[in-house]
């Protein structure tokens, strides 16, 4: 049981170690402004991670996350700003497409990896059509949202806590979340109880689409302009974030709070490297390495759990 606990605490522990190291190397980050800078970019990543987590909760994987967030960013920087109503309609339609993808995957029993990989091209193509070259501008309210300075705690931290709290309620506490995780854990038993797996999966995909839309809008709020490739790395980051946060690929075992922590950890790893003056060439390499190290730690913990005779 103790190693069970340990496993749950592993994500928070990794974040703390990394944060302390950053503070040690660069004490100036230990301030309102410093923290905001460190974690600012984490907010959209955290939202994308929650979106990915919802897909993983039903035992699928979304390889179109990065392209979709980029697409949303392009829409946000153009239509949503210039003709808000049309923008909202486009984004709502995009969420609908997400639900349809979930339905298609379930009804035809397709591998989610391949379908979402195909979708990544579709979203990428749409993004290029909207913004052939980098440009556009963030809606003022999105920019305001990301630039506010609440007293005491930096916006990035407030937003992270808010995201974690809402996602935790939705996925871990509400009926909706229970059924989604139930589908991941034992789809047959959920079906036998009379739930429609089709609708549960569609809802999981739609909510993932919703969180991803938020990610795209807030990303534009941060960067103030968009381009079609702005968030391509989010696919990998979001998967890595879920796993770092203690989620598993199958069996509906996910943790929203962990996922947000995972996203923060990955963002922090980038800053950590630059503080160490390690060339930015190694940025993505470091993210890969962190992923591998955490997974290795998890294997070790599992082994000690088995050794203890559980």
């Amino acid at each position: 049981m103790t190693s069970d606990r340990l496993r749950q605490l592993l994500p928070a522990f990794s974040l703390a170690v990394l944060l302390i190291s950053v503070f040690y190397i660069q004490p100036r980050t230990m301030s309102y402004l410093g923290l905001n800078l460190l974690f600012n970019l984490a907010v959209p990543i955290a939202l994308a991670t929650i979106a990915q987590m919802l897909i993983i909760a039903v035992n699928d994987l979304d390889l179109s996350m990065g392209a979709f967030v980029s697409f949303v960013a392009c829409v946000a920087a153009t239509y949503l700003r210039d003709t808000p109503l049309l923008g909202v309609l486009i984004l709502a339609g995009a969420i609908g497409v997400y639900a349809l993808v979930g339905i298609l995957i379930y009804v035809r029993n397709l591998p989610a990896i391949v379908v979402t990989l195909g979708m990544s091209f579709v979203w990428g193509g749409l993004a290029v059509l909207i913004l052939p070259s980098p440009g556009g501008a963030a809606p003022d309210w999105a920019r305001w949202l990301m630039k506010t300075k609440p007293p005491g705690i930096p916006m990035a931290i407030v937003a992270s806590i808010l995201i974690a709290g809402i996602a935790h309620f939705l996925v871990m506490r509400s009926s909706f979340g229970v059924v989604i995780r139930g589908v991941g854990g034992n789809e047959r038993s959920v079906e036998r109880a009379g739930w429609s797996i089709l609708w549960v999966r569609a809802a999981a995909y739609a909510s993932a689409g919703f969180f991803a839309v938020l990610a795209g809008i807030l990303l534009v709020g941060l960067t103030t302009a968009a381009d079609a490739n702005i968030a391509l790395r989010y696919t990998l980051l979001s998967i890595a974030g879920v796993i770092l946060g203690g989620g598993e690929f199958t069996g509906g075992r996910v943790s929203p709070i962990g996922a947000v922590i995972g996203a923060l950890t990955l963002t922090l790893a980038g800053s950590f490297l630059s503080f160490l003056r390690i060339s930015s060439d190694w940025q993505i390499g470091a993210q890969g390495a962190i992923l591998i190290i955490v997974l290795a730690l998890r294997v070790l913990l599992n082994r000690s759990k088995q050794g203890a005779g559980d």
Binding site: S175, V178, G182, S189, R192, A193, G252, R253
Partner: protein
């Protein structure tokens, strides 16, 4: 049968799976305040009947009436509406959720507000009613519970009443993982439930238990109802006869003493078999026998190279999970284990493979005109023969068998039994997990499993039904 009163009534129910007639014209009526004992051999059609009753399968022919009203579109949710609940043999809870959350999944009518608190109170009360004095915490993850505790939770969830009343509960082997004390508590609750007007369909391999609890006995054989009458007319012997098994004397072969060398053993030394011996693994189903066989196989074969993989062969019982490769022909399925012996310089010698296939088709009477046909074109029993051929055709001196006679017809069984005896006589070693007492009694030596470990070992004359059943429950009751 006064069907106006029936909770649920099937008439002329037929269900086919390909060529298999799982249900072949069955009339089945359940009245309120009645407990029906449903018995029959594996493959007799019991689980199909259960799945029809709970809405999981739809009928090819026949009618379903609920409280006398004919129902057209019977489905899982319609069944639940009608108050039909089911406890399945295999785990049907979500292991990644807590007990309370599983209640949420199982009961859509729980409501949205404060469901957690309601579910918690309800399930705690219900567990207390069915299993007084239990120590299960309702906030625990199901994955952390023992097998017995999971079964207790599942039973309690099935009897839980929220908005629409529970009218019929189907219990499929509900006591298979419970010890005697817990089983008795549950039977007492079932009796009370029936006395208060509920209906129960009770399925169990333990016939004493069925006779003790049931008012009416419904015996199935080959998809048909062969008996439907009052329970008091039966005792265990007559019930066994009705099920269609031949009550035969212990047909024991001349027991080879354990003089031969050890042919195979588990690394921890807990289980071993000697040359030419037939060793049985017994006990309640799902208590670690398959795991032990698989471990035995994996410990003695290689993951990386195949040079010693022909020392042991495995005959799967759970065909679709452990045995059959569904996209392949019968021939390719059969030749897989001995493929390295058919390979010359990297490439498979297809001509020799075909020859071998012909040979074994005749030896074990696989019913097909062409070994190139898809494996799935065969009936379950014939697929099982292919898996036997896979193991027996290989040069392996040790063969592990994981309850391989599930769904195999009597004729084939007798053929395989005699083949086993012949092979054992030639010095082959067999380790045989079986849930059929008839088969266990044919073994020279038997290990009885309970809760994942070996609870007892019997040899020769001590291999009796009584000894084995007692040992199966010993650990759990302690």
């Amino acid at each position: 049968m006064p069907s106006e009163k029936s909770v649920i009534a099937l008439d002329g129910a037929r269900k086919h799976f390909g060529a298999v007639r799982a249900l072949d014209g069955v009339d089945f009526h359940v009245a309120p305040g009645e407990c029906i004992g449903l018995v029959g051999h594996n493959g007799a059609g019991k689980s199909t009947l259960v799945n029809i009753l709970n809405g999981g399968l739809s009928l090819d022919e026949g009618t379903i009436r609920i409280s006398g009203e004919p129902v057209d579109a019977y489905s899982v949710s319609r069944a639940r509406q009608a108050g039909v609940r089911c406890v399945f043999q295999e785990l049907s809870l979500c292991p990644n959720l807590t007990i309370v959350e599983n209640v949420r999944i199982a009961h859509r009518d729980l409501g949205r507000s404060a469901w957690r608190k309601n579910a918690e109170t309800l399930i705690r009360d219900q567990l207390g009613k069915v299993f007084p004095g239990h120590t299960i915490r309702t906030s625990e993850l199901v994955g952390n519970l023992s097998i017995a505790e999971r079964q207790m939770v599942e039973i309690a969830i099935a009897f839980l009443e929220i908005s629409n009343p529970v009218k019929l509960v189907i219990l499929d082997e509900p006591t298979s993982s419970l010890d005697a004390v817990l089983a008795n508590k549950m039977l007492a609750y079932v009796r009370q439930f029936v006395a208060e007007g509920g209906a129960v369909v009770f399925i169990s391999h333990i016939l004493d238990e069925v006779l003790e609890i049931a008012d009416r006995i419904f015996v199935m054989k080959d998809g048909k109802a062969v008996v439907d009458s009052t329970a008091s007319k039966f005792d265990v012997a007559s019930l066994v006869q009705a099920m269609g098994s031949v009550v035969r004397e212990n047909e024991r072969r001349d027991t080879t003493t354990n003089a031969g060398e050890v042919a195979i053993a588990l690394r921890n030394g807990s289980l071993q078999a000697h040359r030419g011996e037939i060793v049985g693994l017994a006990g309640l189903s799902g208590h670690g026998q398959t795991d032990a066989l698989v471990r035995l196989y994996l410990e003695n074969t290689g993951d990386w190279r195949s040079h010693r993989n022909n020392q042991v062969a495995f005959v799967a019982g759970d065909r679709s999970v452990d045995g059959v490769l569904p996209l392949w022909s019968i021939l390719r399925n059969m030749s897989l284990t001995l493929l390295p012996d058919l390979t010359r310089r990297f490439f498979v010698d297809v001509a020799r493979e075909r020859e071998l296939g012909k040979l074994w088709r005749e030896r074990i009477a696989i019913r097909t005109d062409d070994m190139q046909n898809d494996i799935l074109s065969l009936s379950g029993g014939n697929q099982q023969k292919v898996l036997f051929a896979r193991a027996l055709a290989s040069p392996a001196p040790v063969v592990l068998m994981d309850d391989p006679m599930r769904g195999v017809d009597v004729g084939t069984k007798q053929d395989v039994y005699s083949m086993l005896r012949e092979e054992a006589g030639k010095g082959r070693t067999f380790i045989w997990y079986s849930t059929e007492m008839d088969e266990v009694r044919q073994c020279d030596r038997v290990y009885v499993f309970s809760e994942g470990a070996i609870a007892a070992e019997f040899a020769g004359e001590d291999v009796t039904e009584e000894n084995i059943i007692r040992a199966s429950f010993k650990e759990a009751a302690a």
